[in-house]
Structure formats: C-alpha cells, structure tokens
Amino acid sequence: MQINILIFGQLAEIMRSREVIFNDINDTETLKNVLQEKYPGLSELPYLIAVDKEIVSANTILNDKSIVALLPPYAGG
C-alpha cells in the first residue's frame, strides 16, 4: 500500500520535499517510526499528523486513500 504524505513549513525544509511516498505503512505509529529513522533531524521539531485533514493523536489506521499531512507548529496571523 502506498501512502502519500504532504509536508509543510519547516518540515518541508528538513525533509527537503513537500511530498513523500512511503510503502507498507499501515498506521500513524509506524509512520512516525519510519520518519524518525529516515529523517533524524525531525527530533528537533515537534509536529502533528493530520489524517484526512483531522489531527490525530492516538494511533490511526491508514488506507491507500488516506490523506496524510505533517504539520509543524502553526504561525498564522
């Protein structure tokens, strides 16, 4: 299963991309672990995960239609 992940703000800078595609990620906990492994720089920055435009805190199952986004701290206004 392929999951497309949208990346914003400072995270896009750290990960050097606005979108990444991962295979075989079934839930958000796995995603976090994979991200941590691939991008050690992420430990410097707190971020939230949104699935289908809703922030998730508990582990959330993903499917191939899930819209996943990584959101660094907000700075609007």
């Binding site: 703000g9 400072q10 435009k53 609007g76």
Partner: protein
C-alpha cells in the same frame, strides 16, 4: 466531511488598506448593524540576534485551513449574536509594515462584535495550519511560531 461551500480566506500578497476600506463601505446598507470590530495583523520588523525581519513568507495547508475556519466561524456564530464575519489571511511574501490578517465582525451592539473578533483571532492563530518563514535582511531565515 460532507461537501459544502467553504469560504476562501486566502489572499495572495498583502491586504491593501483600500480592500479594508471597501469592505467597511459594503456594510453601510446593513442598517441593523450597530458596531463593527476589526483586527488587523501587521508584519513586525523583529530584531532577532541582531538581524532584522524584512518580510514573512506565509504558506498554508489550504484545504485543511478552510475546513477549520468553517468550524471556527460556525462556533463563533453560535456563541455570539453576529450579523456578519469576514476573515482574510495573506499568503506569500508580506513585507514588514504590511497587513497579513484582517478579521471583521459586526453586530447590533458592540460587545458581541468585540468579543467575537477577539475569539476568532485567538482561535485562528491556534487552529489554522499556516506557517510563516521570517526572512532577514541578510537572506537568512527562521520559522515563526505562535506563542
């Protein structure tokens, strides 16, 4: 989420004072309004470690921001007797001294307009996925974070 028409709040570039003036003018036909409250956010030329911010570059996860703004709008309308509410936020490069946020609430009496305006500003700063890259005069940058 069910399909609905979400109001766009985003403006590319700074919010012109003429746009704000026109927006005020448009309300003269709504004679049940007795008070307006307006909040304007302006880009500040902060000095950080001796370097001065020359502009902020705003980006957003727009689809999510518009859904969240829709919820804030519904909540605020449910809580206060408002006649109307308008919210605009800039995207792109906004120079120090330019306006990047315009929140405009109106009601029959002042209290509802003032309280609703404040609550809307506080909530949108906390809840909308918007990011600001503070660019310094020497082309370096740092990422803004709401306190």
């Amino acid at each position: 989420m069910t399909e609905k028409k979400l109001k766009n709040i985003f403006i590319q570039g700074p919010i012109a004072s003429s746009f704000i003036a026109d927006s005020i003018q448009k309300h003269s036909s709504k004679t049940d309004i007795g008070g307006h409250s307006i909040f304007l956010g302006q880009v500040r030329a902060d000095i950080i470690e001796g370097k001065k911010v020359s502009f902020i570059e705003y980006t957003s996860y727009e689809e999510m921001a518009l859904e969240k703004m829709h919820i804030i709008r519904e909540d605020v309308f449910a809580k206060y007797p408002l006649t109307c509410m308008h919210v605009y936020h800039s995207l792109g490069k906004i120079a120090a001294g330019e306006i990047c946020l315009f929140v405009f609430t109106s009601s029959a009496h002042r209290k509802a307009a003032i309280d609703a305006c404040e609550e809307t500003v506080e909530r949108l700063k906390a809840e909308l996925p918007i990011w600001g890259k503070e660019m310094f005069e020497d082309d370096t940058h740092q990422w803004k974070e709401n306190k």
